[in-house]
Symmetry: C2
Subunit: 338 residues, 2 copies
């Protein structure tokens, strides 16, 4: 099972806009030795998520950046292969935040044991983990969709958007998705049950979106920004809610941004329509995680909520897969199998 | 008491930017005759408020615009001078929404009787009326200031800003005001009890504001926009709340607005700081008015909350006073005494 060294991917340099392969470097180091209370983890799956782009920049966001030469951060599903912690046995599968590497020594406190008999363990990095909980907590706490209302979300075939759409429908709302390309649109509609899915690469995107929302938009779950925001914003109804979960379209830009300045008209609409624009990260709602795990486990085991994974093989593939994800090339929750 | 005709100010033409005197026209018409259930009101005080600028434009905001040739809209305090409604006696003082004119026939349903022995009746147009309730409802429902937090509000000597600051202090928060000119700043500090008041005409406004908020800003009650927003925005703390009540600095602009585009960086902060930006009008919280009237009556009669009025005499002065208010020339709640 074990190899004789740890492989890891570190941040070699900070990207200016879209990251390139040479912003990453693969290293080989000794497998860490264990202190009392630690377990040795062999990483089985690494999660790749848009927020990691923020960690590559020096600017402090809601979390501190990865240092140059530091291991890239990330959620992981791992197997216990050695233990100096009586609470963990060899062979157990845990969720950890061990980053882009093949081995890690971790204290028990930061780990969550996974039950492979309940749902596939990879879901702990997607629908049954951080992205799923971001969708759940943002939609229910901020979006608060009511029966008959219209909920719009982009990246509708991705791990956050797909869960937003499915929970919106569970709550009796109409779910309108946005995705890039016909294949993703059809999949989101057929598999995730969106009432309508619009292709943002279509030249008449704005008009199609307007047609798909004949009663306006009550909840816009924001995870992309850019032209999707521009298309949705005029459709917002009085009292619409906008949970702001991500802005992937602008993560590679640092500004200044070309005019015209959109802020005055946005603020005028915030005022005249009594809009709520509220940013969040899933940690803001940490006390709701137990409820989420219960409810989502039921939805998953009953087949009420579906998910799609996009798995690439080999740690060395992570940088390219990550760069592709920032360009919308993934199709479903992006994971690296080690 | 009564004259032989009604004088009224109508919208002669729509302003493009700052209204000019020729956008208004004064007319003389017959005093309206009463239908069953109506009262004849002689207007004593007319309220002039920033929202009226919106009503002069053709664009639909949260309310329909005044039509060309229509009487300018506005809140009024009036005396019943004739009555065909058994619920109203001659001599009673009421709050009505009769607009910029000297007489009006109104059904009883839209009126609120005022008690001149409780508080001065002019306060029904200010601290004890719409502006006061806008401050109260927006600050408490959206701003939710906690003990020790910092609340920032502009137009600190005006009817909304002064109430925001005083309620913030009642709730144990630190109140930082912004006003135009040394006279208003000193008044806001000495009379309304702001912990600090910054002059936005000062060349080092941003630096002074930063000094006045050593622990950052937890609530920014937005009623002006423009450069005040720009100064406050970088100071916002994680989880800060921004009730959006008004944007007087941009009411005379219709766009497009020159770049750079501020929206991407604003949205990035909304996300990274988990900010809440929420627009409202006081009507959104209409069910809380009874509580407000009780609480504010206590605060006023006990002298806990103070107010300042800026009264001009004569209906014909209304247009010039209104135009001046949009430029910050008023000093306190602007009223026209008829």
């Amino acid at each position: 099972m074990t190899e004789d060294s740890n492989r890891r991917i570190v941040l070699a340099s900070r990207p200016v806009s879209l990251p390139a392969l040479d912003n990453f470097r693969i290293e080989r180091t000794a497998i860490p030795s264990l202190e009392e209370g630690q377990v040795l983890l062999k990483i089985r799956y690494l999660s790749l998520d848009p927020y990691m782009r923020g960690r590559m920049s020096a600017a402090k966001s809601y979390a501190t950046p990865v240092e140059i030469g530091g291991v890239m951060e990330g959620g992981t599903v791992a197997e216990v292969v050695a233990t100096k912690n009586p609470d963990y046995r060899i062979g157990e599968i845990v969720l950890s935040h061990s980053g882009w590497q093949t081995y890690a020594a971790e204290h028990g406190a930061g780990l969550r044991k996974l039950d492979p008999d309940l749902v596939p363990v990879t879901t702990a990095l997607g629908v049954f983990g951080m992205p799923g909980f971001a969708a759940y907590s943002g939609l229910l706490n901020i979006g608060q969709p009511a029966t008959g209302e219209t909920v719009v979300v982009a990246a509708a075939s991705g791990p956050v958007g797909s869960v937003v759409g499915q929970i919106a429908r569970i709550k009796g709302a109409r779910a309108v998705g946005i995705a890039g390309g016909q294949r993703k649109c059809e999949f989101a509609k057929n598999t995730f049950g969106f009432d309508s899915v619009i292709d943002h690469t279509s030249p008449d995107f704005d008009a199609r979106l307007r047609e798909a929302c004949p009663n306006g938009v009550d909840v816009y779950f924001e995870n992309v920004g850019g032209k999707v925001w521009d298309g949705v914003f005029p459709l917002l109804n009085k009292f619409a809610r906008i949970p702001v979960c991500g802005l992937i379209s602008q993560y590679n830009d640092s500004g200044p941004f070309d005019g015209p300045d959109r802020l005055p008209l946005v603020m005028a609409s915030v005022l005249s329509k009594s809009l709520t624009v509220r940013g969040f990260i899933q940690r803001d709602f940490a006390d709701q995680r137990p409820v989420f795990y219960n409810e989502m486990a039921d939805w998953l085991t009953q087949g009420v909520i579906k998910y799609k994974e996009d798995i690439v093989d080999g740690l060395e593939q992570a940088p390219e897969a990550f760069i592709g994800m920032l360009q919308g090339k993934n199709f479903g929750k992006l994971l690296v199998r080690l």
